[in-house]
Point group: C2
Chain length 351, copies 2
C-alpha cells in the first residue's frame, strides 16, 4: 500500500446488505478514490465475493479478519464487551493502532458509537459526541449538517454549544464553507423562544466567538440553504433526519404514481426520464453518504443500515475528505479553546 | 340565518392576507358549505370588500365589529388583555356567548391559543391544550393528525397521554377512522427508547384502554400512513410541521427547476401539467386546512399566517366537520374518563 493514500477501515459485516454491497462499494472506492481500504470481516464470507468480482489481488484492499458482528437487537455496551473480535471492535482497533485513519460502518449505529467512545475516547473539551448528518438543501449542490442526529436524546445547553463548534469545523473544512452559518433549531426566531435548554444554548452560542452563530432556525429553515449547520438535541435531530429521508422517498413514490397517469402522462414521463433521475439524485439520501460521529478521537462514519454499494462508496469518500482536511486536528484545537466555556485566543488565532 | 347551519366566527383581521383573502374564503364557504359565518373585524375595511364582491346581502354572512388586531410582534397575554375588542377576542366571545360554535383565525397563533384558554377555558380532564396539525400521508386521501404541533414545548408524560386521547377522538369522529392507530413519536420502536418523558408516556398510553396505542413511531413513520395519530411534544411537533411544509415547497421548487430542462423536458413538462397539478395538491399544505386547538372548551381552528382564500375555506370546512361530529361532546366524555388516569367504564361504553 502506498502511504499517501488515506487508510480507511470498513466494517464489512455491518448493515442489511453486508457483506456483498459493502465490498462492492469499498472496491469502487479503491478504484476511484485515493484510498486504501481495510475490509474488516469474516474472511470465509469475504474471500469468495472478492474472487467472484476478480478483485482478490486489488493492492488497495486488505482483509482484516474479525469474528462475529453486533446484531441490531443487542444492547451495544454488553455486546461490545462480550464480542471483543466483532467487526466493529476490530475496525476501531485499526484506528487505535494507527493502521487506519477512519472507520466506516453500516452496522448497529449505537454499537459503532459506543465502540468509538470505548476504544478511541472523547476529544478533549467535548462532553458528548454527536452524530452529524448531511442533508441536501434546496440550493443545488449545497448541503447542511445537522447535529446531533441521534447520539444524545437529552442535551444540556453546553452540549448544544459544543455541537455548534464541531459543526462549524466540519462545515468549514470538509464541506468547504468559508463562513458557515450556524443555527439553533427552535420553534421561533426570537431568542426567548423554545424550551429551557434552547433558550440557554442560544445565549451560550451567541457568547462564543468561535461559533458563527446566526440565531434560531425553524423547521422550515433546515433545508432552505440559509444555514450550513443546524444544532439540535439528538431526539429532535433523529426524528427530523428519519422524517427527511422518508419524505424524499414519499415524494419519489408520489411522482412515480402520479406522473405516468393518462396517455399524456406516459409520454411526458418517458421524455422526462433523465430529468427525473436528476431529481432523484438531488433528493435521495444515498447520494449524501453517511453521518459523522463527531466528538470522538477518531474519524467515524456511520452509514445507514440499509446502505448499498453507492452509499458505502459515498461514506468512504466522506471519510477521506475528513482525513484530507485534518478534521480531527482542527476539532482538537477548537474544542481545547472551549474548555470550561472559556476561549483561548492563542488557539483561535492558530486556525 | 337558518338554525341548522353550523355557525362559525371567522377572524377577518388575522393573517398576512387579511381581510381580503379571509373574506373571499369565507364567502366561498357560505356558498358551498352549510355554514353561517360571523365575520369579525373592522366594518370599515370589510364592507367595501363585500360590496365589491357583490356579497353585502349574503344571508349567511354577518359582520361583527371589532377594534384592532393582535400583531405578530405582541406578547399574547398582555395584548389580549389590553385590546379587549381585538378581533380574536370578539371571535372567542361569540363562542362563549353561544352565538357561534367555532372560531377560525389565521392571526397570531399564540394569541388565538391564549384567547381560547382565557375565554373558553380548558376541557375537564385535560391539563394542557395541544395544536393538532393535519398532514397528508403517502396513502392518497389518508391524513394523519400530529399533536402537539406547538402549544406546549415542554411536556409531562401525562400531557402526552392526554394528547393521545384527544387525537383518538378527532381521528375517529372527524377524520372517520373507525379504528385509529396512535403512535408516540420517538427515536426507535422499542419501548425503552427515547428520553425520559417518552419512555414514561409510552407506559401510560399502553395502560390506557381508551387509546388505541400501537407503540413508538419514528420520523420515517409520520407520513407513511401506518399511523392515524402521532403524539409528540410541541417542540418536536412544531419543528416537524414546519419542516414538512417547507419540504413540500422545496420539492415543488426542485420539480419546477429540473423538469423543464432541455427540449424533452419542456415538451414532457407541458404534457404533464395536469398530473403536476395533482401532485401539488397532494403535497400542498393549503389543501389540508388549518390546525385544531384541542383541549379547550370550544372548537378553534388555527390557520397558517400565510393563509389565502383556499386555506380559509378549508379551515371553515374543518370547523364544520368538527361541529357536525360533536367533537367537543365526545372529547368531554373521553377526557372525563381519564381524570387521575382512571377510566370510567360507563363513559367509554357511551361512545
Amino acid at each position: 500500500m502506498k502511504s499517501t493514500r488515506a487508510k480507511i477501515a470498513v466494517d464489512a459485516m455491518g448493515g442489511d446488505y453486508a457483506p456483498g454491497e459493502i465490498i462492492t462499494g469499498a472496491l469502487r472506492a479503491t478504484e476511484e478514490l485515493e484510498v486504501d481500504v481495510l475490509l474488516v470481516g469474516d474472511p470465509e464470507q469475504i474471500q469468495p465475493l472478492m474472487e467472484a468480482s476478480g478483485s482478490q489481488n486489488n493492492p488497495h484492499l486488505e482483509v482484516i479478519p474479525s469474528e462475529g458482528v453486533i446484531e441490531m437487537s443487542e444492547e451495544p455496551m454488553a455486546a461490545l464487551k462480550q464480542k471483543r473480535k466483532a467487526s466493529i471492535n476490530v475496525a476501531m482497533d485499526m484506528v487505535k493502532a494507527g493502521r487506519a485513519e477512519a472507520v466506516v460502518s453500516a452496522g448497529h449505529s449505537g454499537a459503532a458509537m459506543a465502540g468509538a467512545l470505548l476504544r478511541l475516547g472523547r476529544l478533549k473539551g467535548i462532553d458528548r459526541p454527536a452524530i452529524g448528518a448531511i442533508l441536501p438543501t434546496m440550493i443545488a449542490g449545497k448541503s447542511v449538517i445537522i447535529l446531533d442526529a441521534g447520539a444524545m436524546v437529552d442535551c444540556r445547553p453546553k452540549f448544544l454549544e459544543q455541537f455548534g463548534l464541531m459543526g462549524t469545523v466540519y462545515s468549514k473544512y470538509v464541506l468547504g464553507n468559508a463562513e458557515p452559518k450556524v443555527g439553533l433549531l427552535n420553534i421561533g426566531e426570537e431568542p426567548s423562544k423554545g424550551n429551557e435548554a434552547s433558550i440557554r444554548a442560544h445565549q451560550l452560542m451567541t457568547d462564543n466567538p468561535q461559533i458563527p452563530f446566526v440565531g434560531n432556525a425553524e423547521g422550515r429553515d433546515v433545508l432552505s440553504g440559509k444555514f450550513d449547520v443546524i444544532v439540535c438535541d439528538g431526539f429532535v435531530g433523529n426524528v427530523i433526519l428519519k422524517f427527511a429521508e422518508a419524505v424524499g422517498e414519499v415524494l419519489l413514490d408520489i411522482l412515480k404514481e402520479e406522473l405516468p397517469r393518462g396517455l399524456h402522462g406516459q409520454v411526458g414521463s418517458a421524455l422526462l426520464k433523465p430529468n427525473l433521475k436528476r431529481i432523484k439524485q438531488r433528493i435521495d439520501h444515498a447520494e449524501h453518504g453517511g453521518a459523522l460521529l463527531l466528538g470522538v478521537d477518531g474519524i467515524c462514519i456511520i452509514s445507514h443500515g440499509s446502505s448499498q454499494a453507492p452509499s458505502i462508496y459515498n461514506a468512504i469518500r466522506l471519510a477521506k475528505d475528513a482525513i484530507d482536511e485534518k478534521v480531527l486536528t482542527r476539532l482538537r484545537s477548537y474544542s481545547a479553546g472551549t474548555e470550561g466555556l472559556s476561549v483561548d485566543s492563542t488557539v483561535s488565532t492558530n486556525l
